[in-house]
Subunit: 457 residues, 2 copies
């Protein structure tokens, strides 16, 4: 125990210790994730086809299943240095509060203005867009973290940035919109009347509060119909998991530095960007047979793509303009309950994570939102940080495990991803503080329309 | 220039390098700040008198003009470790954007949930209240940073926390209120009908949007009329500057580590907590004749206590229940314009800083808010961090100096305090983004009522 305390509250790597390459977990997978398919022909998408929507170099990263290490360009590394390496925090206060023998660590990605890990991929995607000589990029945002991150990245490189923001978030989070505007982005609530797909969705579902899938369709349409623009995405895609691997790589370097071997690695899961990034190097060891870890995805009970979805080819977007991806999905026709507070409202899941999950290399659990906010409040009061609702799904699972350890006496080492802060989620916290928050668990009947929307392939 | 680049983007001290003592600049002042006076007798306040309002150990710190070093208790150091040492950042991107030969550093205090440096003193004051066996504390908050910080500190030590929040901020920043509630505090808009002084102020100024001076009066009345409660304050007082010296001490250790000698040190000034903390050790060297620095306070043109105020005994609060302090002041009757966005709306200034300023050991400038938001936006877009309006006063001054250096070719080293983030100031940013922000500079006639309210001593 005396030695134990030598581990500081926060492990900060030096800038020199920051990884120089991203890690591409696909290179170590024997069975690779299924390829994206052309929605018209159902044939694998070629680089040429993808280049109409995405930046060229990002297409290469998207399709690269071979190279384990992809160098991080110096321009991106320099930007990273403004907010990275991010701290790996030992949750001494939470452990003491819970009176658990478990050792809890969290990798905190919220110490930047976007408030989350999203900036790690945003700056990479903006860099490649700039390098290609584009005028600007379009994107969607759910909770607003990705849109903020992309606005910051575009401001840095002098790119135009158009954001389609899921309407429910646009209304609940007006300040998020202002942060994006402060960074020079234009922000449109989705569904909107500015795109054909938006008009169509509004005609079919006049009262809809929007969804990520729908905002994606609008952003893609906007990009392909304007010269010099491409579409960028904050989650789901292979390239995003690649960029986010910096989270896991730094975590592993920090743990190795102190000789700490985690037993359990926990991440919240929406589209999979944080979870995929956090677990990448650990999964790599697992795939290569070098180590074993209990890897756990935590998703909201209201949008349970891993725990109750189907592993099938599906549209990534509601408007069905994007390539088809094989993933655990609730169907692109699934419209998540507006009741849910966080950003984990996407119908599908990263194809890489879906394949790893299908191979039994990780497990998944779902949690209900009132218990998530209970965990968030408990965490905030002892660890100081006010967590984002998304991140708090992982906190809930970590606390539950730590309580189990208290009962069994296990000295388990738990690492979880604290993806971001909740400063822009105070409407949800207010609901919780006032005792007005409720849970929503879809019935099988609620899920059926989504499954009915799956393409027949 | 090759050597130059060895300085990292962010200088992080290790937890072991964190100071073990606060520095009390009063010990090195030949002419000490004038003592607090009893408002009834006009005699110096005794420790016994002060102990009715403040915690005992804090009273000792308030009156201590002799000891240069005050040990930081281990419990406070442990809490500090959750968010400190804070980074000293080299503003490489801002320098490049400005094309200036100046070297710019900022000490960033915003990486904690309170969003500012206020937590440094909040945790100290909560600790001493707990140690004394109190039930809880009362306080006021302007922009909400202090109230949030105190809520966090009280949650950590299990103390009750009652916050009187200046009405204009309460209305403009509902989310700040929710953060405080999430940490278990009760929040009341001030002036309120829950105190005698609040009722009186509302009767005299029915439409008032409140002021710090008025909220202080309410919080003090609440504390002295409830058993087991004391009042705590986030700025102005000697004890607060003492706790905040951790900012300057860490800054100096970080600079020394890289052999950097600053030419100019800039801080924004409201009540003086950040500025006083940042400059303390540098001022100490200056007082002891060991070094010289150009030390600059930046205040809003709308509330210019140093640049246009009078150095006189005044009430710290509008209700005139607090001790009298000798300070640069606009008079406790001065009601700052609701137009101003930030938290720098206090009529007075820390007695320590007032005395140092009066002795010519530092200078002061004032800036207008539209130019402050221009600087904030420029800074955000290249350095990533979205700054608080308060902090942006210092950014404005640093940018102006860096531009001067560009003209003269001086390779000046500028250090400024970036006290916090602007996540809860998006109403003000929105105004600025929409081109609706205006400046307000009081005329001499506008200032006269405040001066007329000065006590005759």
């Amino acid at each position: 125990m005396a030695e134990e305390k030598k581990i500081p509250y926060k492990i900060y790597l030096t800038e020199d210790e920051m990884p120089r390459d991203w890690y591409n977990v696909r290179a170590d997978m024997v069975k690779k994730p299924a390829p994206l398919l052309n929605p018209a022909t159902h044939q694998p998408m070629t680089a040429e086809e993808l280049a109409g929507v995405f930046c060229e170099e990002l297409v290469q990263q998207e399709l690269d299943n071979e190279h384990p290490l992809i160098p991080i360009p110096e321009e991106i590394r320099n930007f990273y240095k403004m907010y990275r390496p991010s701290p790996l925090v030992r949750a001494y206060c939470l452990e003491e509060k819970l009176q658990t023998p478990a050792k809890i660590y969290y990798k905190f990605e919220g110490n930047n203005t976007s408030g989350s890990h999203k900036l790690n991929s945003a700056i990479a995607q903006a860099y490649y867009a700039k390098k290609q000589g584009l005028k600007g990029v379009t994107t969607e945002t759910g909770a607003g973290q990705w849109g903020t991150a992309l606005s910051m990245a575009c401001a840095y490189f002098g790119l135009d940035c158009k954001v389609y923001m899921v309407k429910v978030s646009y209304e609940q989070k007006p300040f998020r919109r202002e942060v994006m505007r402060t960074y020079g982005a234009s922000v449109t609530p989705s569904p909107s009347m500015t795109t054909e797909v938006g008009k169509k969705i509004l005609a079919e579902h006049p009262g809809t509060t929007g969804s990520l899938g729908c905002a994606i369709s609008e952003a893609v349409e906007d990009a392909v119909s304007h010269e010099g623009y491409r579409y960028v995405l904050g989650s789901v895609l292979n390239q995003v998991l690649l960029h986010q691997s910096i989270i896991g790589l730094e975590t592993k370097i920090a743990l190795d530095k102190y000789g700490i071997k985690p037993d359990m690695i926990i991440g919240c899961a929406g589209g999979g960007s944080n979870l995929g990034g956090l677990i990448s190097p650990f999964m790599g060891e697992k795939l290569r047979g070098e180590a074993d870890y209990d890897i756990v995805a935590v998703e909201p009970a209201s949008c349970p793509s891993l725990t109750r979805g189907r592993y099938a080819y599906d549209f990534c977007d509601t408007g069905m303009v994007c390539p088809l991806a094989k993933m655990y999905t609730l169907g692109s026709g699934f419209i998540p309950s507006a009741n849910h507070a966080g950003g984990l409202r996407y119908h599908g899941m990263s194809p890489v994570l879906s394949e790893l999950y299908d191979q039994g290399l990780m497990r998944a659990i779902s949690v209900e939102q009132t218990s998530v906010f209970e965990a968030a409040t408990e965490f905030a009061r002892c660890e100081g940080i006010l967590p984002a609702p998304e991140s708090s799904h992982a906190i809930r699972a970590a606390i539950d495990e730590a309580i189990r350890c208290k009962e069994t006496g296990e000295e388990k080492t738990i690492v979880f991803g604290l993806t971001g802060t909740g400063y822009f989620d105070m409407v949800a916290y207010e609901k919780f503080n006032n005792g007005e928050m409720t849970d929503y668990i879809p019935t099988d009947a609620d899920l059926q329309p989504g499954f009915d929307s799956l393409p027949k392939i």
